[in-house]
Structures are given as structure tokens and as C-alpha cells.
Symmetry: C2
Subunit: 130 residues, 2 copies
């Protein structure tokens, strides 16, 4: 069971690279450095752009750069972008499916674990990774 997908993985690496290198970085350059398939990397960067984590510049001499400080880019946010919101189990949270409804002890437990995990993940920023 993987908690982090390739999407997230590549995104984190790209962000780390960019936080160490001022100015615009092209997809081509990232691909060289990180060994990731180019069109896939493009898609990832485009998404980060849409999410306003990166900014992009078209045309010759263009590329991507961080839009916000590495200190303010949280790993858990990147995970959310590529993997959806973190939740232990949809099922336990949908009362209409779970037969125990509100009383479900498991649900409470899960909830508290979830909080713990999120708490830890929230402390990790790109800045803390480089």
C-alpha cells in the first residue's frame, strides 16, 4: 500500500529542484535532472500551475518557477492536489452506508488517527525537504 503516488513524488522532486534554482526552469531541464517522462512531467507542472503553486511563462525562454515560498508549500497540499483529500475511509464517514451510524467507535478512532497523520504531514514543507 502506497501512501504517495508517482504524481506526487515527481511533483515534490520538481518543486525541490525549483526551490534550489532561481529563475525559470523548463520541463526539458527537469526531465534531464529527474529522469521522468517528459509529457507526464508537463502534465504535472501544468496542474501545479493551475493550482497556483507554480507560475508559467510561455514562449522561447519560458518555463516554470515557484509562485510561493517553499516554506509555504506543504507536502500534504501536494498530496491533496494529486491524490484527493486524505481520508482513511469514505465508508466509515458516510453514515448512510455504515450500519452503526453515529455510534461507530471505529469511526472515532479512525478520525483521531487521521488527525495525527495530518498533523505530522502538515509540518512538512518543500523548504524542510531541501
Amino acid at each position: 500500500m502506497k501512501l504517495i503516488t508517482r504524481n506526487t513524488d515527481y511533483a515534490l522532486r520538481a518543486l525541490c529542484y525549483m526551490s534550489k534554482h532561481e529563475g525559470l526552469v523548463t520541463v526539458g531541464r527537469l526531465v534531464q535532472k529527474l529522469g521522468v517522462p517528459q509529457p507526464f512531467m508537463r502534465k504535472i507542472l501544468q496542474k501545479l500551475n493551475k493550482e497556483r503553486i507554480l507560475e508559467s511563462h510561455k514562449g522561447q525562454g519560458g518555463g516554470f518557477k515557484l509562485k510561493i515560498s517553499p516554506k509555504k508549500i506543504y507536502m500534504v497540499e501536494i498530496m491533496r492536489v494529486f491524490q484527493g483529500p486524505l481520508g482513511l475511509n469514505g465508508c466509515f464517514l458516510k453514515k448512510d452506508i455504515c450500519p452503526n451510524k453515529g455510534k461507530c467507535v471505529l469511526r472515532k478512532k479512525i478520525r483521531s488517527i487521521e488527525e495525527g497523520v495530518l498533523g505530522q504531514l502538515r509540518e512538512i514543507t518543500i523548504a524542510s525537504l531541501i
Copy 2:
């Protein structure tokens, strides 16, 4: 992003039910109580049997029951059975893929988070859920 799959979910519910009801429990009964498709539930219970968490009895009057105490059935173990070993990311752990190899800070961070999560999950047993 779900941390717990339906497999695990159903298994946990079945185990909880069985820990509250002495003696053999048939698949049919569980299906009635928990509203899970029968053949799917069978497959799940058969797996728990193979993993020596349940014991089974064939023939008329047969069924399943816990083989070990609910206090010794750990949620994280059930997750492992149905979802494989918990790891944040295979990629970071395979040095030959990660370009930073041994030095990767991310990997260490991930590792420590992983430990934290596992630590919390390890405290949850079936007994603690009922």
C-alpha cells in the same frame, strides 16, 4: 485518497461482529448483519482463515470464529493482509530509482512519519473497537 479499502473495512466489521458473538458464525449471517455481498465476504473470510486469524469449520452447522483474542488482532495487520505492507512510497525506498540515493532528506522524513502512523495504528485492536 483512501487509506482503508473495502476489503479491510468489511474484514474489520466481520471481526468485530465475531468478537461479540461466541461460537461459529456463517457467512450468510454476516451478510445479513453487515449488508455485504456474500461471495465477496466469503473470499475475505477465507483469507482471514488462511492468515490464521479465523478458524473455519466445514459442513452443516459450520462457519467461522476467531482463532485469536480480539486483543491480539491488530488493525494494522488486517490492513497488511488486504492492502499489503504499509509504506509511504515504494519509489523513495528504491534507491536505484531515486536520483538522490542515500542522501534523500525526503526519504528520511517520510520514514519518520511512517513510523508515527504505524505506531498509532499498532495500538488499535479489534478489542479496542467494540
